[in-house]
Subunit: 306 residues, 2 copies
């Protein structure tokens, strides 16, 4: 086992971590995505940071592969990026191949929720489990299902869009065109919208979480409703899949028990008692490091040249 | 490959089929469950019918294994039956083992929705597919998920209780204690209840389907609402699993397009367009034979002695 680089490609930043054979992050780098528009520019900035990380290694030791988590769908044949709403510059580009050719290293690429789930599965809250559902709640809501040790991709590689499970068919309209999706209750923009409706004040979802942690009553009520919707989604998923560990990550999950307690409290009302009793809903253990460590795992497992 | 017996153990009848190496049902038997109470009696009646089927075979040819689909949960270690609400006499009994010992043949046992799904997967509407969801709508609503060729059992062997996915969290109370479960809209008893509320007449779910087929407007409206709920469940499952074939079986599904058309019409309103466009919602191809053929497949794949 060797040293690899795990990369979390986000809408606002790219985080890189140099990861050793014991899956420790030896060193980190961060690139502001806004300063890195366009495929060529993004590749160049990443290559610079990978070179900079390489120089930290003792002479004779090199980086052997790269893994990348991307904020959108990935073509499962070419391993390249499909439409990325938040990163239009590199959408539909042969990103994986170009990065691999530029650096002369094997590169693996997958959807960010799946990559973060791999991190938690191998190194975090899912360690020693065979199955788990990871739900990431941020600007959007996504999921990754690991069943008996394997990620579920689905027949067209779009599995895990559980943010668009219906919570209430008469609920608010979602930007996807549907109604009452989990995302309309629990995403960062949903928290912001609901907080503005309650208080008249416009702040973003992360700030709603912060205020809730500081005791703001309207913010707590908004998180309470988000937790209620999350609990219903967890209940329906648990009834169908009988997976017993749900790990909640992403920026909104930083509210911790203010989100998770109402989810846990809602669950028994919408699942068989025997099922609800075995389900654990817990916060991600690795936070932002989950994606970097998952990407590093992916680099070793599936990195390919060119 | 040899001749086996597939058994569909139901709440009101036990259906047996003698199945040859080409997966054709050569001969059938049927036992009224009400006349067969208690483990010993059920085993004796099944053994008699298996003997009777055996006598139809040419001299020198025998039955090599039995497969059974049971209307309730199965212990995945012992292969025996857990609580069967509709068959209290053989609930929690070492049914599989006793049947195997009595006949001196390997026996395999599994949950009826999974067994019927195996039938459709290998010999019916799911032939040539790698993944599918089978939803059985009768007295209850159950599901079986086959993903990349394998049934999903879950961590405690209770996967597939999708009849208790939440369609509307403010919906009618379900007998399971939850609210707005798919079962409260689409099961036979739900159809009967809704029809009685609309027309004042008490008939059972199968009769509601029959009347709808005959043109009864209230019955059609009831099936329309059931299809709406089914469409929402299919949408949420498709978003999460990205499985593209949904096969609907069970007695209520005999209403065919009167149930499936509203389900198909609801789907695009509750799933991404790209996902909805690839989903097929179709009636089971094998009907009641699905469980017998699935049980026969199970007998060959997993039958074990004693």
């Amino acid at each position: 086992m060797s040293v690899v680089v795990g990369i979390d490609l986000g809408g606002s930043k790219i985080a890189l971590g140099l990861v050793d054979a014991e899956n420790r992050i030896l060193s980190r780098r961060r690139i502001d995505t806004k300063s890195a528009a366009g495929l060529d520019n993004v590749i160049t900035r990443i290559a610079e940071q990978v070179d900079s990380l390489r120089r930290e290694l003792p002479a004779g030791q090199g980086i052997t592969a790269l893994g990348v988590g991307a904020p959108g769908p990935v073509d499962h044949i070419t391993g390249d990026l499909l439409t990325l709403v938040n990163l239009p510059g590199i959408s539909n580009s042969p990103f994986r191949r170009v990065l691999s050719q530029r650096l002369g290293l094997p590169v693996a690429l997958d959807h960010d929720a799946k990559v973060a789930a791999l991190g938690e599965f191998y190194f975090g809250a899912g360690k020693k489990r065979e199955s788990m559902v990871y739900i990431v709640i941020g600007t959007g809501v996504g999921a990754a299902i690991i069943y008996e040790g394997r990620l579920i991709y689905g027949e067209s590689n779009t599995a895990g869009e559980s943010g668009h499970m219906t919570i209430d068919p008469h609920g608010p309209v979602c930007h996807c065109g549907s109604r009452g999706c989990l995302e309309t209750y629990a995403s960062g923009p949903a928290l912001a919208r609901h907080y503005a409706a309650a208080s008249g004040e416009k702040i973003d979802g992360a700030q709603v979480s912060k205020r809730a942690l500081a005791g703001d009553r309207a913010a707590r009520q908004v998180l309470n409703e988000a937790g209620w919707a999350l609990g219903i989604a967890v209940a329906s998923l648990a009834m169908t899949l009988n997976i017993e560990l749900f790990i909640i990550g992403g920026s909104v999950a930083r509210a911790g028990d203010l989100l998770l307690k109402p989810a846990r409290a809602t669950l028994p009302g919408y699942a068989f008692q025997a099922v609800a009793a075995r389900v654990r809903v817990q916060a991600s253990q690795l936070g932002e490091d989950g994606a970097v460590l998952g990407a590093a795992w992916l680099a070793r497992a599936r990195g390919k040249l060119g």
